[in-house]
Amino acid sequence: MMAWFAENSLLLGLALLDGLAYAALVFMVAVGLNLVFGVLRIVNVAHGSLFAIGAYTAASLGLFFASRGLPPWAGYAALILAACLVGAVLGPLIERLVLRRIYGQEEVLQLLVTFALFMILEDVQKLVWGVQPISQDLPMKVLGTVDVPFGEDVIPFTIYQLFVLPGVAVAVLAGLAWFLRRTLTGRVIVAVTTDKEAAMAMGIDAAKVTLLTFTFGAGLAALGGALASPTTSLVPGIGAQTIVLSFAVVATAGLGQIEGAALTSLLIGLGRSVAVYFAPEFEVVVPYIIMVAVLLVRPQGLFGVLETRRV
């Protein structure tokens, strides 16, 4: 075992670097999902569609900016703008028009409403953006690469994936933690997450909090998509794959856990990249195996708090 590690330590080091960028993207989507679940108690299946729409919007905006002769860094403005736009438009639209009507109904109905939204939004993407791959990789290209030593050799990594993505993820994590603990709005959200009835009894306007949280969560999903867009080609179906992975992260982390989602994303990101090096056949299964293993030992998730029933 030790010999194996010694022999493959260099490769493991590379796998670690690879896992970071992946984990960062997974985290961005999962944390929004988790936040929304914490307040609304709804697992939003359409969260993946928001990711996809965020990505498409960012790419379209980026291409538009580029066609207008704006400097390359304007691509970054496009990423942020896309996330805000999608969050601010689709978030309230979905929450007010659809979700609001089903609060307090059976869980299965809530889940299925978001499933219906997912089906609708999947086709909306196709109608708006077509089916040919769209890509806009200027934000990745403009930063170039950095050479990471690998024994005698060097391996070029893109600065975007090695620094920008993990950097943004850490910033989102830190910002969220600060927002939730230090600001009044944040504390209200935490209060609703912990005990909705008590929070409402204290006079908190739950309707406002849910709207705000959902918009915020949608924005995070869109931001994840926007940040992913420079590294990938946007094709129909990316939403469906993203959401199912975020489910795994959220359930493994424990519902409503922000830092937990970060650590779990890291775990799953690293697990996946190690699998690509040493057991590529298991790459796809790794997140689910991690999830099942964790829930076997800790039914409430790695960081979840056990809810006791009161009698």
């Binding site: 791959p133 890509s135 990789d137 070029p156 893109t158 590294t231 996946r272 690509v276 590529p280």
Partner: protein, 438 residues
Amino acid sequence: MTSAITRREAMFGAAATAGSLLLAGGNAGAQTKPTELRVGITTFLSGAASVFGVPARNAAELIFEDINKAGGIGGVPVRAYFVDEGPGTDHLVGEFRRLVQNEGVHIMFASISSGSCLACTPLSDEMKKTTLLWDCGTQRIFEEGKHPFAFRTQGYGTPEVLAPLLYLLKHKPDFKTLAVINQDYAWGRDSWELWKAGMEALKPGVRVVAEMFPRFGAPDYSTEVTRLLAARPDVILSTSWGGDLVTLVRQAAERRLFDRSTFVLPVAEASMQTLGKTMPAGHVIGARGDHWNNHPKPKDPAKLAKFVEAYRAKYNEYPIYPCHHMAQAIAAMQAGFARAIAAKGGGWPNDQELANAFRGLTFDTPTSSITLREDGQGLEDQIVGLSSFTEKFPFAVPKDMIIFPAAMVSAPVGQKSVEWLKTLKPEFLAQVPAPVAG
């Protein structure tokens, strides 16, 4: 798209029209000329593979419009029924039945996905309905069974893999290591099996340093790219296509993997427009056929130009190979009906007579001509070259092209491809034609 009448029939009239459709579905005795020639076409309209399916449908609509303007086929206007392969096989086989039993189509075009083809081809046997396999590439169809009503109007996996392999052996004969990164589904797996068999026969001793089959539609290949950068193979093979290939090339190009290894991309053509200048020059690219925009000596240059320009005018992009494959299937259909009608002295053929007309049929494409062998497999030439940029196109096209005659790179009738590839000898390389300037 289907017309308003179909929609109404489909929505309300299923039961009411059933009686007449029962008759329409039959194929007994004398056939009267129908009022329209109904063609059922399965293609991807949703999901990742719709990047092929939708352009192909566009091409079909364009061509059928032209055909109908010119009076149809045998004087009968053509009407197309498109169905989506996206929702899965159980849906698709139901749709296949609907088209045959309910809409009374006269001929079927089946499938982009090999899985769809494997499901639909046996249905053509059962329902005795002539089915043109218009795009799928799996060699298993005609090598694992007889299908009297099915015909593939384009090449298939074996020539599409062997041609790039031969090109590589000519272009870079001294490579010692190779890595493969293919999509994890039949085409990715089968094409690697074909390549491996051919490579071991033609150039024994090449070391395979990595075999990777990332999930179909994977959004990110940076881990795989890192692993390939670290492994430094002389050659990297990838038969990936669509968004997957675009992502792979972008990420690999950005991190200078193309400087370290020679890429062989047999399905590159369809992604060149999307990649634009991002595609590095000097790598081996193929097109699943010979229909490159810069084909050095097309059989009918005017016809090729007309099709390309008409498609560009209508859809604002160059046609990609699935468009050409669709055009080939339609050309085959025209030729087949013409032959069947002629054989019947001007009468309208029944299903069996129509199928008979396709066996051994030769039809023209803008670039060449294709013959359907006795087992139903079409013989389509392959052109492989090195990616390069010209003034004429804003995206990569091949240079130093080699035109591989279809018969040379296809497994003979009755032989299984993998077995046949294993019998090849290094001397086989001597038969490879010389490159032509693009």
